[in-house]
Symmetry: C2
Subunit: 340 residues, 2 copies
């Protein structure tokens, strides 16, 4: 009979029931040192009987080394975010780590610090910050020193190690593609943070500059595709717009809807290119041309990097994933070219 009904069994209870010492039970559990078959079986039987389960806190305390990776993100449900987290989780699980998710909702320093403190109140081995938005930037800035931290971002940054998903190159590829089709210039509906430092907007601008094309006013949308829809309604009235690069596929789909409602034909009159490779983009009519980004892979790389930091090892060579232009139905030559 267990000594106390209310208390969860501890290793001492197991040892007592099995008639062995506490360290022997521990040895059976960890398998670090051989234990005679007879005792091992007695111990296992006692564990079974008591429903014993080692206390993780005590384990973590003595081992000093933690096996939890904290992920800080401004959101979890957006396509790129969710996929990156998936990559982190998968790599972590395979390596025997567990991931903790904490959403950074605001970007004012106080709230961010409070949220980070909550996350870091638990024993974490390292931190991965999804630096895709202002909240992510604030999180990186608010990280206390001494904690291994890696940022995942669309472009390289300073302060902490960055694992990048080369957004700049990706946006240049997409913009170049549209220019080569004959478009005079390419308009751009950007996701937040697009202002100055977003890799996507930077790549778009750089490609236009290199081609000496006119650089139109950047249109900033939020994350909500409806905002791109609203922008699209006004864009549909303009006949100087023949190609639009969107900051992500959701925005592109919002834009497509607006153009459709206004009777503008895609790609005959206007070409639309999205960003990310959202699976639903392929099922639109017209199917969305996009730049596929390997978010899962960047998540895996971030995990490897943070583990290397923990172990003070040399980080693995940080190949940034190659973006892939996926040409589908929503892009083509501009109307002028067609008329020729």
């Amino acid at each position: 009979m267990p000594r106390s009904v209310s208390r969860t069994p501890a290793i001492t209870d197991v040892a007592k029931l099995a008639g062995v010492s506490v360290p022997t039970v521990s040895r059976v559990l960890t398998g670090s040192v051989p234990v005679s078959t007879e005792r091992r079986e007695r111990v296992l039987r006692a564990i079974q009987e008591l429903g014993y389960r080692p206390n993780g806190a005590a384990r973590a305390l003595i081992k000093g080394h933690q096996s939890v990776i904290a992920v800080l993100a401004g959101a979890t449900t957006r396509y790129g975010y969710a996929l990156t987290i998936q990559g982190i989780e998968e790599a972590a699980r395979l390596a025997g780590y567990i991931v903790m998710i904490t959403v950074i909702e605001a970007d004012d320093p106080d709230t961010v610090t409070k949220t980070i403190d909550l996350a870091l109140a638990n024993p974490v081995a390292g931190v991965i910050v999804l630096k895709f938005d202002p909240a992510g930037i604030a999180a990186v800035r608010a990280m206390p020193p001494g904690v291994p931290v890696v940022a995942v971002a669309g472009s390289r940054g300073s302060g902490v190690p960055h694992v990048v998903l080369d957004d700049t190159t990706a946006a240049m590829t997409a913009t170049d593609y549209l220019l080569q089709l004959g478009h005079r210039t390419v308009h751009h509906i950007a996701v937040p943070l697009a202002g100055r430092r977003s890799g996507r907007s930077a790549g778009w601008r750089k490609a236009l500059e290199r081609a000496s094309a006119e650089i139109p006013q950047l249109m900033e949308a939020g994350w909500d595709p409806h905002q791109a829809y609203e922008i699209g309604l006004t864009l549909a009235e303009r006949d100087d717009v023949t190609a639009v690069l969107c900051g992500n596929d959701e925005l592109a789909i919002g834009l497509l809807r607006a153009l459709h409602e206004k009777g503008r034909r895609v790609p005959e009159e206007i070409s639309v290119v999205g960003f990310d490779g959202h699976p639903l983009g392929a099922l639109w009519s017209p199917a969305l041309t996009t730049v596929r980004q390997d978010f899962v892979d960047v998540g895996r790389r971030a995990f490897r990097e943070v583990v290397a930091m923990i172990g003070k090892e040399q980080p693995p060579q940080n190949s940034s994933g190659t973006p892939q232009l996926v040409i589908r139905e929503s892009s083509g030559p501009p109307p002028e070219t067609r008329r020729r």
Copy 2:
């Protein structure tokens, strides 16, 4: 100068530097007992200087009460899954808890048990299982006794407390709606697990039975919208199909694409209704009629339930969220009615 560069500072280091006892530092940290202003300031200064950060494992060990909630899920990126996790995370963070995510990849007992053991090797207060698929069912089954666990599912189940998202009612609502429009019957493309116990398929069947309508063969698709697309290609050839209820919005969009390619008009010839309320569904052409489910709310409810279990409190009254039929462009009366 800190004593050792390599070691992270502990509470003893703070106490030494501040010239107070260890418990006093602890009292400053927890605020449980008043400390004289002078000492409090010395302690805070020492903490600042050392960059001290309390060890969560030691805290968890002594307090006995953990503040980590483990979430077990078959996937994280699918719309409903991601939103449920979002709801859990939000509620948890506000209550001072942190969530750990672990994906259950396979559904064979061995792998599942191993994954759960990995998750439970950490100090967790309770577990929430997303029982939306076979992996989730396997996880619930493999949970060791003694751990507070709540399942989130589309229909009520046994064994552990369930927080439900009344899929059955939702599917009945959608099916009734289509029948009332005049459709002779409603076809159904189901998500996995649809076999016998899925609430969605059950509701669809029940509504047809109640209306004494013919019950067509259920078509089972995976989670990939392309499978619904494939099914749609064959469905487009049949003229006995006038209404299709899909197991989720992604499948519905795959179906819409197939019908569009085959030149079948929606909703004039065929009505399509999705499930979940995916934001992109509203931007399709035609905009997708769907049954919106409040996943975020079910996540919140699951969290409250598991916290109640931990504290042995009476669980909050478990109102199952009311599904909401969102009628958009993809559904309408059947062709016969229109001809009249």
